[in-house]
Structures are given as structure tokens and as C-alpha cells.
Symmetry: C2
């Protein structure tokens, strides 16, 4: 989660939304990503999607041994990607500033763990207060 938080801060440092994600397989980090809405004008590169894209084309056996970390609760799109690739474990920094469809994802067999991390909460809370329009755009509001 530390590496995901650093990804979020990296995004923030260049004017982007501070949401970061990391994927690990067998305990080794295989990819890191962060939200690219501002940086690349992207509507689909949320942190988790950027991370999955950077991981490249993996086999189903790879995904099924993976753990995906995200500083913020995955939205419908990112949750859908987790379900598509049957990633069994998702570690979430916090779900106070935004909550995706966690119950549905759990009902499909994914172990979703919420850390309630104070640093992740503070980082997102501060960004949302300063950039409400941008934040709303990112979650389709």
C-alpha cells in the first residue's frame, strides 16, 4: 500500500488525481499505476486500469495469483476489470471518500479488504475539497 500511496503522490505532483495502484504476484510488484485523467486526457485510465495496462498481457494463471492494491475503493469500471480477470484479492486504502460496488465484488468471490488508512483518507479528502469539479468528472457525476 505504501507503493500505491507513492504512485498517488506522483500523480498529484504533476497535477493529476492522487489515486494510486499496485499489482503484486507471489509477493512481487509487477506493475504500478496512477490516475491519468489530467496527464493523458484519459477517461478510462483510473489508477487500477493504468496499473493493469502497465502489467501488460498476462495469463489467467497470473491474474489468479495477483493482489491488487488501490489507495481508494475501486469504482464500477475498475471493479469490473478485477472481476474480468478474476483477481482474487483487493486491498483498498480507504472507502470513506468514495465507495465502489464492494458488496457486489465480494458476492462474486473477491476478497476485498479495507485498510481505512489515515494517509490515504487525508490525501483524497484534501484533493476533493480543492478540486470538486475534477473529482466529480472522474466518478461520472
Amino acid at each position: 500500500m505504501r507503493a500505491a500511496y507513492e504512485q498517488a503522490m506522483l500523480g498529484l505532483s504533476v497535477g493529476g488525481l492522487p489515486i494510486g495502484s499496485v499489482m503484486a504476484i507471489d509477493g512481487e510488484i509487477v506493475a504500478k499505476g496512477h490516475n491519468q485523467r489530467i496527464q493523458r486526457g484519459s477517461s478510462i485510465l483510473h489508477a487500477e486500469m493504468d496499473c493493469l495496462e502497465k502489467a501488460g498481457r498476462l495469463t489467467s494463471r497470473d491474474y489468479q495469483r495477483a493482489v491488487l492494491y488501490s489507495t481508494l475503493s475501486p469504482c464500477d469500471m475498475c471493479s469490473g476489470a478485477i472481476l474480468l480477470y478474476k483477481i482474487p484479492t483487493v486491498i483498498v486504502g480507504e472507502n470513506r471518500n468514495f465507495q465502489g460496488p464492494e458488496s457486489y465484488v465480494r458476492s462474486r468471490g473477491v476478497d476485498v479488504q479495507i485498510l481505512d488508512d489515515p494517509d490515504c483518507i487525508a490525501m483524497m479528502e484534501d484533493f476533493i475539497r480543492r478540486h470538486p469539479t475534477l473529482w466529480n468528472e472522474d466518478i461520472g457525476v
Copy 2:
């Protein structure tokens, strides 16, 4: 749907998976896309995602007037993107060769229409028969 089918054939013509998508707003096509797994080594650019990405950063009011067309039933990831952006109407060429979470998407208020189009069915059926491994990779199997 004709434009989505042409996108699929365009992908096929360069060695890609033949799945195409088009987004229209107020009856005008605003973006076209097709699966980019082979062409760009992408794990996230399914046809619908490529189309949404090409549409760029839109407002929630834009998405909420949109119709998304896809030659094949949207998978969990693409369905999640539809839910994130609250796209109200999805027109699907066929769901015989693959069926995404249509019931769930409908339960979230989206009008999902299945055309059962013979050309879309034949195109996908033929590709899956010739490239089963590639097809399985695309749907996380």
C-alpha cells in the same frame, strides 16, 4: 451497429480481435473503437474501452445522453465502465458467443438491447474457432 461491425472488421484486418464499438450522442457518432489487445498489447482496451477512451473527457451530461453500441455483449470491465458513466442505453450485436453481466447492468437501470445480429454472431464464432487461446485470454479464461 453497422459502424461498430466495420470497426470489428478493421481490427480483424490487422490481426486483432474482431469486436467493435461506437458511441453516439443525440444521434451523432462521437467515437469509434475496437479491441486493441494484439495491436497495442493492451489488457484493458476492449472495443468499448477503446471507444470511451477515444471519446475523450466528456461531461456527465454527455454520457447520460449517449448510446453505446458493441458487436458483442460487454464483459464485466466494459459493463463497469458503462455503469461508472451512467450510459443509459447499450445496443449489443449478439450475446451467443459471450455473455457479460447483462442482468446486473439492467438491475442498475441500463437499457440493454440485444440485436442477435447474424453477421456479428458469424464473425465472432469464426474468430473463436480459429483463435481459441487468444479469445480466452481476452475474457480472462
